[in-house]
């Protein structure tokens, strides 16, 4: 089985992150690795760099990782986490400029077919309802 791009979902809300991951798994299946994180680590809304870093590392593959985020802070904190990855891994991780749920589903669909990271992100970013 060829490797597939992994998906990481980062939301201000732990519930949203988990829900989006559940939807991806239900619609796309298990062959795409999905990690998710949300909340500020104290049970409140927000994002946590350490959690994002752990999520990326848990599904990292040289094939690539597509990160879906919701509002601003999720993006900047994800950027920081990516910069903290060791050994140039950050080069294989990309934040997609797409709505978090739809983007995750489209990215995972494309990833399941074996597409490379730029194609996976492009599919997520091209989505328009």
């Amino acid at each position: 089985m060829t490797d597939t791009v992994s998906i990481v979902i980062v939301s201000h809300s732990a519930d949203v992150a988990k829900g989006a991951a559940d939807m991806v798994r239900q619609m796309v299946g298990d062959e795409v690795r999905v990690a998710f994180c949300g909340g500020n680590g104290e049970g409140g809304l927000g994002t946590d760099v350490a959690a994002i870093l752990a999520a990326i590392e848990s599904v990292y593959t040289p094939k690539g990782v597509a990160v879906l985020v919701d509002l601003g802070g999720a993006e900047t904190n994800s950027e920081m986490a990516i910069e903290m990855l060791a050994d140039g891994r950050g080069d294989n991780v990309r934040i997609c400029n797409a709505p978090i749920v739809e983007g995750a589903v489209m990215a995972a669909t494309e990833a399941a077919g074996g597409a490379a990271l730029p194609v996976v992100c492009a599919t997520a970013e091209d989505f328009q309802a």
């Binding site: 489209m106 669909t109 494309e110 399941a112 077919g113 599919t123 091209d126 989505f127 328009q128």
Partner: protein
Amino acid sequence: MKELEPAMQWVCDAAVIRDPTGLHARPAVKLTKLAKTFEAAVEIRADGRNDWTNAKSPNKVMKLKAAHGEPLHIRAAGCDAEAAVAALVALLHRDFVD
């Protein structure tokens, strides 16, 4: 219409969409995923429309408006075209149940 090399032919079939909501998000994703497992070019068309859509493109399939009770037209061209069409028809016949 896609230009085909002389040696290639489209294999065509159709199957009725059974889901009351038509071809909505979940079936669209499953259809795309299945289409991608084949080497052949695979295209679908809603009944009554002229334009064929790349069945391997999640965005394009998601946007396709195909209604309940209508046949979804499928065509494929390439080495495993017959298998591709058969697989997609079977998917529709079992109403996208895995």
